[in-house]
């Protein structure tokens, strides 16, 4: 056994009901990393998605509440969990009725999604993010905002406030409203939120860079930079740009247009031009840096959701990943199609077998 293990944030038990391919299952976790093993389509990612809904937002598939409800019944769905939070343990429930919005209850009391971010911090890596460096800026911005939110849960509120005020402004632009007082009032709200957003993102980038520098050599380092406008200038830019924005029917400058640039530090090559494997390695490196920096801030590692990560790594890197997770004391929930992908973890992990029969998924803990 290693010395004092950091008491990581963790999901102690998880129940899902009428959630995608699950009718109802309950799992108990002991805080060690967890490997979910099973064939394609068994229901492994669905479990990670359920856990991701213990944080604010739409989860790791960005799915609508109705998409998640088990078909063909479509009765609504529910995820309930006992979690080991930052300060204490909590009972968290989140669900949606058929056609309704997602709801949250913490310790039996109605709560907001933003409050979830103050209990658990969850960081994920999913195969859809493989395209992060080649797709449009929106995906990178979303990724950056998730990292920023992991350091500053208030980031979510700032982003929501900004988007709300901008949607209002865009409506004025589209309807050709000319009331300068109204624009000024909205641009003021946008500027306040933008200052927070830009600051949070800058912190996220510098924390990621610093935490990568502390890492060993198994994963490459990414040189990160976020290109965005100076929040000091935005208010004036919006005031002066109303005519131009009106022609476009939307707001053309602001933090909603920012982009995250990454360079593979060892080679000086922009991430978008790196090989598929290198791009994946950069992402893992950033996710681990995020977890490391959070563990330093909070005194507890975040929960990690690593979907199909093991399959893309050679044996050496796989072992380095597992060692890093265990050193962090992080509860990493991982998926893979075969148990051999997790053999390097030995007794350091819990294992669950996921199977599917006739469109119904089952989970069963495997012996040591």
């Amino acid at each position: 056994m290693k010395g004092e293990r950091v008491r990581g944030l963790a999901v102690a038990s998880l129940g899902v009901s009428h959630f995608r391919s699950y009718r109802g299952v309950r799992m108990v976790f002991d805080g060690r990393p967890v490997a979910f093993v099973g064939p394609n389509g068994a229901g492994k990612t669905n479990i990670l998605e359920a856990v991701s809904l213990l944080s604010p937002g739409r989860g790791l598939r960005r799915a609508g509440a109705d998409e998640i409800a088990r078909r063909p019944e479509v009765l609504g769905w529910k995820v309930s969990a006992a979690v080991r939070g930052l300060h204490s343990d909590h009972e968290v429930e989140t669900w949606a009725e058929c056609g309704g919005a997602r709801q949250v209850r913490i310790d039996g009391k109605a709560a907001t999604q933003v409050m979830l971010g103050r209990i658990l911090r969850i960081v994920w890596l999913v195969p859809a993010m493989d395209r992060l460096w080649t797709e449009a800026a929106e995906g990178r911005r979303r990724f950056l905002d998730r990292v920023a939110m992991s350091f500053a849960p208030d980031h979510a509120e700032a982003v929501l406030d900004y988007e709300k005020a901008m949607r209002e402004r865009n409506r004025l632009l589209k309807e050709g409203v000319g009331d300068a007082h109204w624009y000024a009032a909205l641009e003021g709200r946008m500027a306040e939120a933008a200052a927070l957003i830009v600051a949070h993102r800058a912190v996220a980038v510098s924390r990621l860079m610093r935490a990568q520098a502390d890492a060993g050599g198994a994963f490459p380092r990414a040189e990160l930079d976020v290109a965005s406008d100076d929040p000091e200038d935005l208010r004036a830019a919006w005031a002066e740009g109303r005519r131009r924005d009106m022609a476009a029917g939307r707001t053309l400058v602001g933090p909603h247009r920012a982009d995250l640039a990454a360079v593979y530090a060892g080679k000086g090559v922009p991430a978008g031009l790196c090989s598929t494997g290198e791009q994946k390695a950069l992402l893992i490196s950033m996710i681990l840096a995020n977890a490391r920096a959070l563990a330093e801030d909070l005194g507890a590692a975040p929960v990690l959701l690593l979907d199909e990560v093991a399959a893309h790594l050679d044996e050496g890197r796989r072992e380095a990943l597992y060692d890093e997770i265990c050193t962090l004391g992080a509860q990493a929930l991982m998926t893979g199609t075969g148990p051999e992908l997790f053999s390097a973890l030995g007794s350091r992990a819990q294992r669950f077998e996921v199977t599917e029969v006739g469109g119904l998924s089952q989970v069963c803990e495997m012996g040591p």
Binding site: D161, A165, E168, R171, E175, V177, H181, W182, A185, R189
Partner: protein, 199 residues
């Protein structure tokens, strides 16, 4: 479940739309009234009909009243030169209940929201600017929600009133205000008013 006769079902349905009442509690309330038709239901129906016929918005401040001007606007002692801007009549009532404010009010009847098609003219903001000029107002206190729409409205009003030179203040930050005033205890409302700051 056995259905009550049509008229009574209709009454239950209407009652169930009231805040704080659901179908079950509406049914219970109606049943109680039916059992005490003479002592409860008839006087209630009579008062409701009277109030429905006489209630209207105060032409000056937007308070709900039974005459053209509400009691507050008619009371000369309330002409203190202070005007408190609230989103809803419920906020006005909460402030009155607390007894912490001695001036007059201006009820907007909502907040600015382009997405919900609520503009300045829907919110009695032009009337507010006129009142500041005509009533010798020295201070306008903004008691609006801390939401994006509430704060946008507050800034809009401050901007519109700027040329008049009137002092614009807002309730102390950190105190939930606006639509939530109704839920605050009287002491907290008083404290928020006393700790108001220049906007």
């Amino acid at each position: 479940m056995t259905q009550a006769p049509g008229d009574i079902e209709r009454l239950i349905e209407l009652m169930a739309r009231l805040p704080g009442l659901g179908p079950r509690s509406a049914r219970r309330a109606v049943l109680m009234m039916l059992k005490k038709r003479g002592a409860v239901m008839a006087p209630l129906a009579q008062v409701m009909a009277e109030v429905a016929a006489s209630a209207r918005d105060c032409v000056r401040c937007g308070n709900i009243t039974g005459a053209d001007l509400c009691d507050i606007c008619r009371d000369e002692r309330r002409a203190t030169g202070e005007l408190c801007v609230v989103e809803d009549v419920a906020d006005l009532w909460a402030l009155e209940r607390a007894g912490a404010f001695r001036g007059r009010y201006h009820v907007l009847g909502g907040v600015l929201s382009a997405l919900d098609s609520v503009g300045p003219d829907d919110l009695r903001i032009p009337q507010l600017a006129r009142r500041v000029r005509d009533e010798g107002i020295a201070e306008v206190i903004l008691a609006l929600n801390a939401t994006v729409d509430g704060q946008t409205t507050a800034h809009y009003i401050a901007d519109v009133l700027a040329p008049s030179g009137v002092q614009v203040t807002s309730l102390a930050q950190g105190v939930p205000i606006g639509g939530e005033l109704d839920y605050l205890d009287d002491g907290t409302i008083g404290a928020a008013l006393r700790a108001r700051r220049r906007f």
